[in-house]
């Protein structure tokens, strides 16, 4: 857990590697290829890189047209533009026909940092998860990002892969294996379950360690695939631990927390506390300052877990 690497960097590296093996891969970007790291693919395979300029709607439609001819089209820009600015294009031209477009969006969430609320997507998971045919992955570290990009390239159909700007700790080694739609269990425990995704997984582990010091055994799940959600893991968590804390760098409405609540309601209803952005937009600041300011901390996760345990006692 010592090395720090941004998931966008792991994306850029993996994409450039995949380009060598799969000639069907084409990459589109909307004037942010330096930031999204698609520029690394562009440098190696300029003939398969399509610079769209500042035109996200056109980029999504063009990606759809490329996919309609048999290409595997990766389209990248910041998450706020990919999902918000171009929502109708993602819906009509990509999700409705189920075309083979991989929307790999970077700079998601508060950890965009200094650019502020205009650039911090707190709603993108909700927007993408609600679309039929769309698979949604939120990788937590570099190794998981490499897997997510490979699985997106291999499987047919629309994918949304949510990536971050800031460097995050490595959680997994390169040999770690992941399965689409299957949560990764990082800590076993019976007292409470913490379900996290993306940059918050490492903080969920810190919270579990803090709880452990108090004799509380928290199960920790890395829910990298938001859709299709691992309903079985959620049900087991509910039945075996009696309560759930969800943690995400996203609004508490409609994202991982929303998905887990929907799932647990129809299988094994138990208390759920959602740790996330509390239905507000972001602001400027350093990534760590922002996570602190919006309550996305290990302390808050641990506190929520203890509240869940108290709720279990009073029920």
């Amino acid at each position: 857990m010592s090395k720090m690497i941004a998931t966008r960097a792991a994306y850029g590296e993996t994409l450039a590697e995949l380009g060598a093996h799969d000639a069907k891969i084409v990459v589109l970007d909307a004037d942010l290829s330096g930031s999204t790291r698609t520029g690394w693919f562009a440098a190696k395979y300029p003939e398969r890189f399509i610079q769209m300029g500042i035109a996200e709607a056109d980029m999504m439609g063009t990606a759809a047209g490329l996919a309609a001819t048999g290409k595997t089209a990766f389209a990248s820009t910041f998450a706020v533009f990919a999902t918000g600015r171009a929502f109708d294009q993602v819906r009509q031209s990509i999700a409705v026909p189920g075309l083979n477009v991989k929307i790999c969006a970077t700079h998601a969430g508060l950890t965009v940092g200094e650019d502020g609320g205009s650039h911090q997507s707190v709603e993108d998971i909700a927007l993408m998860r609600v679309l039929p045919n769309m698979t949604v992955i939120v990788p937590s570290d570099a190794a998981q990002t490499r897997w997510a990009v490979r699985v997106a390239a291999e499987k047919n159909g629309p994918f949304y892969v949510r990536l971050g700007r800031a460097a995050v700790p490595e959680i997994y080694d390169e040999e770690a294996e992941f399965e689409l739609g299957k949560a990764k269990t990082l800590r076993e425990g019976q007292d409470v379950t913490i379900i996290a995704c993306g940059v918050m997984v490492s903080r969920a582990l810190e919270a579990a360690d803090a709880l452990g010091a108090k004799g509380i055994h928290a199960r920790v799940l890395d829910m990298h695939t938001i859709k299709p959600l691992d309903d079985e893991a959620v049900r087991r968590a509910a039945e075996e631990t009696g309560g759930i804390v969800t943690v995400e760098e996203h609004s508490i409405i409609g994202g991982l927390g929303g998905a887990v609540c929907e799932s647990v309601c129809s299988s094994a209803p138990v208390p759920v506390i959602r740790v996330g952005v509390a239905d507000v937009f972001g602001r400027s600041g350093k990534p760590d300052e922002l996570l602190e300011a919006y309550g996305l901390t290990a302390e808050n996760i641990a506190c929520a877990a203890e509240r869940i345990i108290n709720m279990k006692k009073t029920h």
Binding site: V26, E47, R48, I50, M52, G53, A55, A57, D58, M59, M60, G61, T62, A63, A64, G65, L66, A67, A68, T69, G70, K71, A73, D88, Q89, R91, Q92, S93, V96, P97, G98
Partner: protein
Amino acid sequence: MRLARVVLSDPEELAAKACEIRKHIVRMVGAASSGHPGGSLSAADIVTVLYFNKMRIRPDDPKWADRDRFVLSKGHAAPVLYAALAEAGYFPTDDLVTLRRIDSHLQGHPDMNQTPGVEMSTGSLGQGLSAACGMAIAAKMDGADWRVYALLGDGEIEEGQVWEAAMTAVHRKLDNLTIFVDWNGLQIDGPVSEVKSMDRIGERFAAFGWHVIEIDGHDIPAIMGAIEEAHETFGRPTAIVARTVKGKGVSFMENEVGWHGTAPKPDQVEAALEELEGSCKGGVA
């Protein structure tokens, strides 16, 4: 065994085919009691020339890799596309009257996963040109010689994405891309000139760097000639700006904005078919 594809080269035969397509449009929209006859009828001659004269297609092999592609960006004109596809042999003409029914493959707006020959799912306006650009870029990447066509409405080009895509097509020198603007002058809320003053359409595309050809969109030899000119234009895409009449061929629908999205009643279907029958015999719609 490959079925012989119908290719018509005589303008009078093409006009007769366009007339058959107009009759299908009236019948299918009438049978569905909903749909968009006006903008389907205005585009009938253009779509007929594409499917029965200019496009390289194999109706019995809809996914043939080297086929030309057609994107109906103004997806509400689905009836004209379905009628042309059925007449070309992609599926039985008997299917046409199932338009918009719960068990039909003919959705209210084109669905590429349900209807053989539909190349792109459209319906939300302004998106088809981007998809057509993507297809044309793919052909260039692969060194393939198939071409891409798209049909846009004059109201539709009020959507900003159209102009994003117009820039893309020029920037990438997509001379394998040809679009038609079906300039029938009417949109749902009234004349286009009153809704958003979308005049001088040709000049707008020319200013973006397109090769522009302005024609009468019901003049079949002119449509044929414009497509041939597009084929001989290199280094940039071609926009064929076609002056058309909304509801063309059915006098009580012509230039009447109310027929944008209203289905004819049974007696109106009868009257329309009778009128079209007469003009079919006359050879030119």
